[in-house]
């Protein structure tokens, strides 16, 4: 199961790496050793510090503390050029390809070979690109436009591009997250062949199965701190999950004593092509249902469908009456609201003021004879500012200048200022300071007391466990587990989310759903 390649000499050593951002310690005391021909997995929850660490290695950030040794010599990586000169390449989840150029042009972008010192030697570009792709076992034409390639093929082009430079350390940031099951095996083969060439690979993934498939060693991070480094052959999945999530719950969460009412929302057989398969669940008045799962498991896609934002098939009922989610407008009229994850891109009207952002969805309750009743609108906004404790100089303040927490409150004000029955919140506290966080939790609790049902998507396990009355775990577009508040543990949820199913069902039996 574990690769047999014998690890070579130490290539890269990071010791006591630290990095702070204003108000946040993103990394503290993190160490990692990488050998030639080794696959070293980096494991941790969202926000554990994996990205920060690889950004330090690739020169996107500079470290505040600690030392980096390359080939035994201390080095200082001050920018991407330094990392490139050392032979450190990174494949990010978001590819860095020019979509309208060909495969060969992308591989050689930035250092096209010259003929006679003047014109580009296209022949060399094409033959050398071909050789690189062959080395990866990729059958892509070097003349194909990148925009025409599948995601898996684009990934291979990215890898070829990094191999075209001198590469001794290859960092792969969740390379499997963008791939379907069928493309995984080819990715594994590529990783193994690079390993055989003596390249050291830092491999980030949430999927434990892959770590066992590929990695020699695994380093676990949590909340920006180093937890442990283990030989993969000597650690089992349960222990990995425990190392990843084990921490004390804090008391920022209100004590929930839910009084469940009628079924507000009933979803049956919701599907979206390639993204969501046959999702069914119910939400009751006064209930908070948490949706857990790793990024890309289809949670957001389910919620957008319920809100009428994307095409889907499903049989749904709202308060017992049939409901067709044709458009967000239709959803809002039935009392369904969506607080999007991407607050600035999909929630706020950034050039407008607090008033306009608050009342834009409920203007029809504020009109008489087709005209907006200004006095009524101003009174409503003033009440929302007061009730939600939105910090703003006045109602005409532009939301672009507000903090993340206050912006989120403005979006909540929008939905709470009208007759919202089902409140869907996608990562409700992402990018929000701790103070506003607990205020938002308190608000959620209050709302359920008034009979609102809340669906909360969250990638933060403590939040899921702290707020949800019931937790549904999604993986690969479908619901794979349901846990009650009492039965749920971080390990239990994570086991479902990453597909450690034998263990998941053994520790936390799912109630019949």
């Amino acid at each position: 199961m574990t690769p047999t390649a014998t690890p070579g000499k130490v290539l890269l050593e990071m010791k006591g790496i630290g990095k702070s951002f204003p108000g946040v310690k993103a990394l503290e005391g993190v160490s990692l050793t990488l050998r030639e021909g080794q696959v070293h997995a980096l494991l941790g929850e969202n926000g554990a510090g994996k990205s920060t660490l690889i950004k330090i290695l690739s020169g996107a950030y500079t470290r505040d503390a600690g030392e980096i040794f390359f080939d035994g010599k201390g080095v200082d990586i001050r920018g991407p050029e330094d990392a490139q000169a050392l032979g450190i390449s990174t494949i990010y989840q978001e590819f860095n390809l020019a979509r309208d150029l060909t495969v060969a042009e992308n591989i050689f972008i930035g250092h096209l070979p010259r003929k006679n010192g003047l014109t580009v030697d296209w022949q060399a570009v094409r033959t050398r690109s071909r050789a690189l792709l062959d080395r990866l076992g990729a059958k892509i034409s070097v003349d194909a436009l990148v925009s025409r390639l599948s995601v898996a093929e684009q990934q291979l082009v990215e890898i070829a591009k990094s191999l075209n430079r001198k590469t001794r350390v290859l960092i792969m940031d969740e390379p499997s997250a963008v791939l379907g099951e069928s493309d995984l095996e080819r990715l594994f083969q590529v990783v193994r062949s690079l390993q055989a060439e003596g390249i050291g690979i830092i491999y980030i993934s949430h999927r434990l199965r892959e770590i066992y498939e590929l990695a020699d060693e695994v380093t676990i991070l949590k909340d920006g701190r180093y937890v442990a480094t283990k030989r993969v052959a000597e650690v089992n999945m349960d222990e990995l999950v425990r190392l990843m999530v084990g921490r004390a719950l804090t008391d920022v969460y209100p004590k929930r004593q839910p009084k469940l009412g009628e079924v507000l929302l009933e979803v049956k057989g919701l599907s979206r092509r390639h993204l969501v398969h046959d999702v069914s669940f119910q939400l009751r008045a006064g209930e908070i249902v948490g949706f857990s799962g790793i990024t890309g498991s289809g949670r957001t896609e389910v919620m957008r469908a319920i809100f009428g934002a994307d095409e889907h098939t499903a049989e749904m009922r709202v308060a017992g009456q049939p409901y067709k989610a044709r458009s967000p407008t239709a959803a809002i009229r039935r009392g369904i609201a969506l607080v999007t994850e991407d607050r600035k891109g999909q929630g706020l009207l950034l050039k407008q003021d607090v008033t306009m952002n608050t009342t834009i969805s409920g203007l029809r309750y504020l009109t008489r004879g087709g005209l907006i009743r200004r006095a009524k609108e101003d009174a409503l906004v003033a009440k929302m500012i007061k009730d939600l404790r939105i910090k703003t100089p006045n109602a005409k303040f532009h939301v672009v200048n507000m903090s993340g927490g206050n912006q989120q409150k403005v979006i909540l004000a929008r939905w709470l200022s009208m007759n919202t029955k089902v409140l869907i919140m996608d990562e409700p506290t992402r990018g929000i300071d701790v103070g506003s966080k607990s205020e938002i939790y308190q608000l959620m609790d209050d709302l359920t007391k008034q009979g609102v049902g809340i669906i909360m998507i969250s990638s933060e396990l403590p939040e899921v466990l702290g707020m949800s009355d019931r937790i549904l775990v999604m993986r690969e577009g479908t619901i794979v587990g349901e846990l009650t508040r009492d039965a749920a543990t971080e390990e239990g949820v994570m086991n479902y989310a990453v597909g450690n199913l034998a263990k998941a069902t053994a520790t936390a039996p799912a109630p019949a759903s």
């Binding site: 809100f307 934002a309 458009s327 967000p328 407008t329 959803a331 809002i332 009229r333 969506l338 999007t340 891109g345 999909q346 929630g347 706020l348 009207l349 950034l350 050039k351 407008q352 306009m356 834009i360 969805s361 203007l363 029809r364 009109t367 087709g370 005209l371 907006i372 200004r374 006095a375 101003d378 009174a379 003033a382 009440k383 007061k386 100089p393 006045n394 109602a395 005409k396 532009h398 200048n401 929008r414």
Partner: protein, 332 residues
């Protein structure tokens, strides 16, 4: 409780009352200041610059572009742009005169068909933008050419026989000793209506929301396609009114009219402080922008500068204003 909130809110103390903040909160102040400075400047250069007669003259000169600029403002507020407006206006004006003079239709039918042609252009523009998703710049560049050709296919000769009802809009009435045309008043009324609708109706808010962030607007429950379609059709109707004012002012149906009205109307919108990126601005600003252009033209004319110099200075003014706005936006 509600009443206290209403009462306290407008009186709430304004903190950080910097000029930049003031300009952002009340964006019309910038263009207004420019207009006043221009008037002061020209008063020092010419005799009796600020007078009723001069105001009337500026309004008359700018009446067509000023009207087209209302439609242009609506479209730019949604994040679009309309290059076809001058041609829609020209086509409409030759139709409403030509169908009467050459085809013997009753004036009301001729005017009705001319407006129908405007609506057709609005529907085509709106449909291509919403259903196909083409950039408005490309769509209206295409319909500009189509309009240009249709006008010249219909007639190359100026149509001199005009329905009396249209000439009415070129007639003057006196306020004191100043003669104001009916058309100028109609333009000002249209501005007032557009301002009121944008400010006080859900539809007006929707225009800003769509221009600010179409996806956020959609997820806030706004039917973005319907809003865009309505804006393009409404703008085209306003261009129809522009055609009526054009014919009323000149007394003829002129196939040469409106060739550069698209650029002039965009100039007025930008000078008025409306962002070409959409979602920010105001039609009163556009009115001020229109007046700025008119004041500069007249002032420079009175100073004895040629038409070409006037156009040149308008261009410089436009770039200067847009740069100031851009720098101010980036600064915050």
């Amino acid at each position: 409780m509600a009443t206290t909130a209403v009462a306290t809110h407008p009186a709430a103390p304004r903190r950080n009352l910097g000029i930049a903040r003031l300009l952002r909160d009340v964006p019309i102040l910038g263009p207004l200041a420019a207009l006043i400075l221009a008037c002061i400047f020209f008063s020092t250069q010419t005799e009796n610059f600020i007078s009723g007669a001069h105001l009337s003259f500026v309004l008359q000169q700018m009446v067509v572009v000023g009207t087209l600029a209302i439609g242009q403002s609506l479209i730019i507020l949604t994040g679009g742009i309309d290059l076809s407006n001058g041609m829609v206006m020209a086509l409409s004006s030759v139709l409403m005169t030509g169908l009467f003079a050459n085809s013997g239709m009753p004036p009301s039918l001729a005017i009705l068909l001319a407006f129908a042609a405007c609506i057709a252009f609005g529907v085509v523009n709106g449909w291509l933008v919403t259903a196909i998703g083409l950039p408005p710049f490309i769509v209206t560049l295409g319909t500009y050419s189509i309009g240009y050709a249709l006008v010249r296919i219909y007639t190359t000769a100026t149509i001199t026989r005009v329905p009396d009802s249209l000439l009415f809009f070129g007639e003057r009435f006196n306020i004191g000793t100043t003669g104001i045309t009916v058309g100028s008043v109609l333009m000002l009324v249209l501005y007032a209506i557009a301002w009121f609708v944008l400010r006080s109706t859900p539809a007006g808010r929707a225009v800003y929301a769509v221009g600010d962030n179409p996806e956020a607007a959609r997820l806030a429950g706004i039917n973005t396609r319907r809003v865009l379609m309505a804006v393009y059709v409404l703008a085209a109707l306003i261009y129809g009114v522009g055609a009526v004012l054009q014919v009323g002012r000149m007394g003829v149906g002129d196939p040469q009219a409106g060739t550069d009205a698209n650029l002039q109307s965009i100039t007025a919108v930008v000078l008025g402080g409306t962002s070409l990126l959409g979602g920010r601005g105001n039609v009163l600003g556009t009115l001020v922008g229109t007046l700025i252009v008119g004041v500069f033209r007249m002032g420079l004319q009175l100073m004895g500068l040629s038409t070409n110099a006037q156009v040149l200075i308008t261009g410089v003014l436009l770039i200067l204003t847009a740069s100031l706005d851009f720098v101010a936006q980036r600064a915050k």
